[in-house]
């Protein structure tokens, strides 16, 4: 089978088969990343542009390593020092980059929908590396790969996503990915951080962490963005931690073999306690490792579209 789109903008528009295609391809690239010489010639002569309008270390580096292992040339663009600070529009910036013959544009932007805008106007494959509060598709794919590795599959698993669901692109992508693959998804957080009508996406909503964690196989903890303080979403981070910080005590309500995930970067002691983040159930660093294989797979599949 082949992907329907030249771009990877979201998980919502992917069907189950396409998601599985991405997961399978990540698994085969994992073998490459385990080799002594971790490089294959798949994308030799292709140009990958990292266009990051928000600070990011993990995701940008992960895409860069993935592209380099596929032998592509990688250009990193960051907001400071670019013409955006001279008032150029996003679209003009992207058109100029494409005029230099880019094949892939990987974009992170604070505005939801920014990658869609580029995808409509550009011939390059656009990969969404996180847009506003909308989606972060490669994060969801790497989370799915990590869960599959540990649990053998996704179908039937109970997954709790904890924290700021309203502003989280990671939550949205995972909700779509997990529900499409047959998991039961719960979300939990204070009311103001649960977005309107989220139940209609097929998840159940909990405000009480104990109930949310009862008997779950997987716990995904979201980063509490500290700039949300002072907007009355919750009174203080102190009180937030009191209700929602994932502690060793609290994970006892989950299944014994529960796995703990976090997209990073972590606020230790706010959304997750250090002993849980570093504990035996935590797969946080596995997630990072899998990120590279997932992104190699994404570049490979989008690059090979139409050539098969």
């Amino acid at each position: 089978m082949e992907l329907k789109s030249k771009d990877l903008l979201d998980i919502k528009s992917l069907d189950r088969e396409e998601i599985n295609l991405f997961l399978d391809s990540a698994e085969s690239f994992k073998e490459v990343t385990g080799r002594d010489i971790k490089k294959v010639p798949t994308l030799r002569g292709k140009t990958v542009v990292n266009l990051f309008f928000e600070p990011s270390t993990r995701t940008r580096t992960s895409f860069e390593i993935a592209a380099k292992r596929l032998s592509a040339d990688v250009i990193n663009f960051s907001i400071s020092g670019s013409s955006m600070s001279k008032g150029e529009s996003l679209l003009d910036t992207a058109r100029n980059i494409e005029a230099m013959s880019s094949d892939f544009i990987i974009i992170r932007h604070s505005a939801s929908g920014a990658p869609h805008m580029l995808a409509q106007c550009l011939k390059s494959s656009v990969i969404n590396a996180g847009d506003g509060s909308h989606e972060h598709p490669t994060q969801a794919l790497l989370d799915l790969v990590t869960i599959k590795e540990r649990k053998g599959g996704i179908e039937g698993l109970k997954v709790a996503i904890i924290g700021d669901i309203a502003h989280s692109r990671v939550a949205r992508s995972n909700i779509y990915g997990l529900t499409k693959l047959g998991a039961e998804v719960r979300v939990a957080g204070p009311p103001a951080l649960i977005p309107a009508e989220i139940e209609s996406t097929g998840v159940s909503v909990f405000y009480n962490l104990k109930e949310a964690l009862s008997d779950v196989d997987v716990i995904m903890v979201l980063r509490l963005q500290l700039e949300r303080q002072g907007k009355n979403y919750f009174p203080t981070t102190r009180e937030y931690a009191r209700l929602y910080c994932l502690t060793a005590e609290r994970i006892r309500d989950a299944k014994e073999d529960v796995m703990i995930m976090h997209p990073g970067p972590i606020n230790r002691g706010i959304e997750i306690s250090p002993e849980v983040a570093d504990g035996l159930s935590s797969v946080i660093l596995e997630q990072v490792t899998n990120g590279i294989a997932v992104r190699m797979g994404v570049l490979y599949l989008l690059g090979g579209r139409g050539e098969a």
Binding site: L90, H109, S112, G113, G132, S133, H134, A196, I198
Partner: protein
């Protein structure tokens, strides 16, 4: 001035309970005769209106002409040209120009421009507060003297209830309606679209219905207290419709408008991040659209206004968060209203009432009917002509329409202002 004979059109004039095929003669810029088979002298221009509607010129109570200050978006000349193309013979222009129309000087500038470069009648709306800052009420008596026919801080709601109270009291003394953009900006915060499943899915900040509802409730209460004439702009929520319905039942001096887009689009249109679906208030849920349609049917909502809000292409070609609110509307409003007639939501009479006669009554101006000796502001509509909305062909500088590619029915074949054909 040339005499014009409009021949064999179906004349629809709700105020005079007229709906018949007849001739209409314009003489000296006024409606001179309505009769069958009017014979004419050779110097009379004849417009054959067979199979067409001849109606009192449409009146838009909610237009942004952008001049002075934002001439790159629209000018009084291009905006009124668009109005003429859309069948409007009179537009009321909102004061959110740069500078804000809160003074005699700006009002006179607008009227001068309209007289020298405009195509249709322009009636300025003055600001409620100085600079539309919501702090001190503007010099309303001077604004009225200069030619303003209503007051509004459209786009920048008067958040302070005490200021709104004083504004309604003072405006009442001057017999000026106060047009309220009802939005609690604390509740809408930095929202960019309707709050609901679609905003959740798209990761866009939502504007809840309640941000409109609470201000409609407040302003109705203030109108009741002061007796001031309140007109609620661009109603978009089911809650607002219900509040206005109950206020009218209690005899409070409130009227209301909605816009074509709130009658035919829901927030699902935003999917795909098309910035031409971004306006304030935002496109709402289906249950709101249904309630607004009902409100229009039962008279709770008095009129259809356009909220014509042109923007430059480069402003709309931005990330959804960063694009400005507003869509262009003068040239599509009538066809969309006629679509509602086809759907059985409104009668033809309702449409003419709500787009001409009722606005004139609310504003207290002698327009909106075709009685003999009335100024000949007339729109001729070819009801069955189908057309496809192509932004390139809009007369307005603003190409920002959510209806691009829509197949619509009903086109304006001629617009006559004061006895002069201004379109085509």
């Amino acid at each position: 001035m040339k005499k014009i004979l409009i021949k064999s059109g179906r004349i629809i004039d709700p105020v005079n309970n007229l709906d018949k095929v007849s001739d209409l003669l314009i003489e000296g810029g006024k409606v001179a005769r309505i009769d069958s088979n009017i014979s004419i002298a050779s110097d009379t221009e004849v417009i054959d209106a067979t199979g067409q509607f001849v109606v009192p010129g449409l009146i838009d109570m909610h237009t942004h002409l952008r001049e002075p200050g934002y001439e790159y978006k629209e000018t009084i000349s291009t905006g009124t040209m668009a109005a003429a193309a859309g069948g409007f013979t009179t537009v009321c222009c909102m004061p959110n120009t740069r500078p804000v129309n809160d003074s005699q000087a700006i009002t006179e500038f607008i009227l001068h421009k309209a007289a020298t470069e405009g195509f249709v009648n322009v009636l300025p709306i003055g600001a409620i507060t100085k600079g539309s800052k919501g702090e001190e009420i503007a010099e309303m008596a001077e604004l009225r003297e200069a030619g303003c026919i209503a007051l509004s801080d459209d786009g920048r709601p008067v958040m302070n209830g005490a200021v709104m109270r004083r504004a309604l009291e003072y405006a009442k003394m001057l017999h000026l309606p106060v047009i309220s953009h009802c939005e609690d900006t604390h509740l809408s915060e930095e929202g960019v679209m309707n709050e609901g499943l679609i905003s959740t899915e798209m990761g866009l900040r939502g504007i809840p219905n309640v941000s409109e509802d609470v201000m409609v409730a407040r302003d109705i209460a203030l109108s009741e207290l002061t007796g001031g004439q309140l007109h609620i702009a661009h109603v978009s929520t089911r809650g607002a419709v219900e509040l206005i319905r109950r206020a009218k039942e209690r005899g409070i001096s409130v009227t209301a408008e909605t816009c074509p887009h709130y009658l035919v689009l829901t927030d699902e249109a935003v999917t795909g991040y098309n910035t031409n679906t971004k306006m304030n208030p935002p496109l709402r849920a289906l249950s709101d659209v249904e309630a607004v349609r009902e409100g229009l049917q039962d008279g709770t909502i008095d009129i259809i206004a356009t909220d014509h809000a042109p923007h430059a292409q480069e402003e709309k070609e931005k990330e959804f968060d960063n694009a400005p609110f507003g869509i262009t509307g003068l040239e599509t409003a009538l066809s969309i209203a006629l679509q509602l007639v086809d759907e059985g939501v409104l009668t033809l009479r309702d449409v003419i009432m709500k787009m001409s006669a009722r606005p004139a009554m609310i504003l207290g101006i002698d327009k909106g009917s075709l009685h003999i000796t009335s100024v000949a502001d007339i729109t001729i509509i070819s009801p069955h002509t189908a057309w496809v909305v192509d932004p390139v062909h809009l007369k307005s500088k603003g190409k920002n329409t959510p209806f691009s590619g829509w197949k619509l029915k009903g086109k304006v074949s001629a617009t006559i202002v004061g006895g002069k054909v201004v379109h085509p």
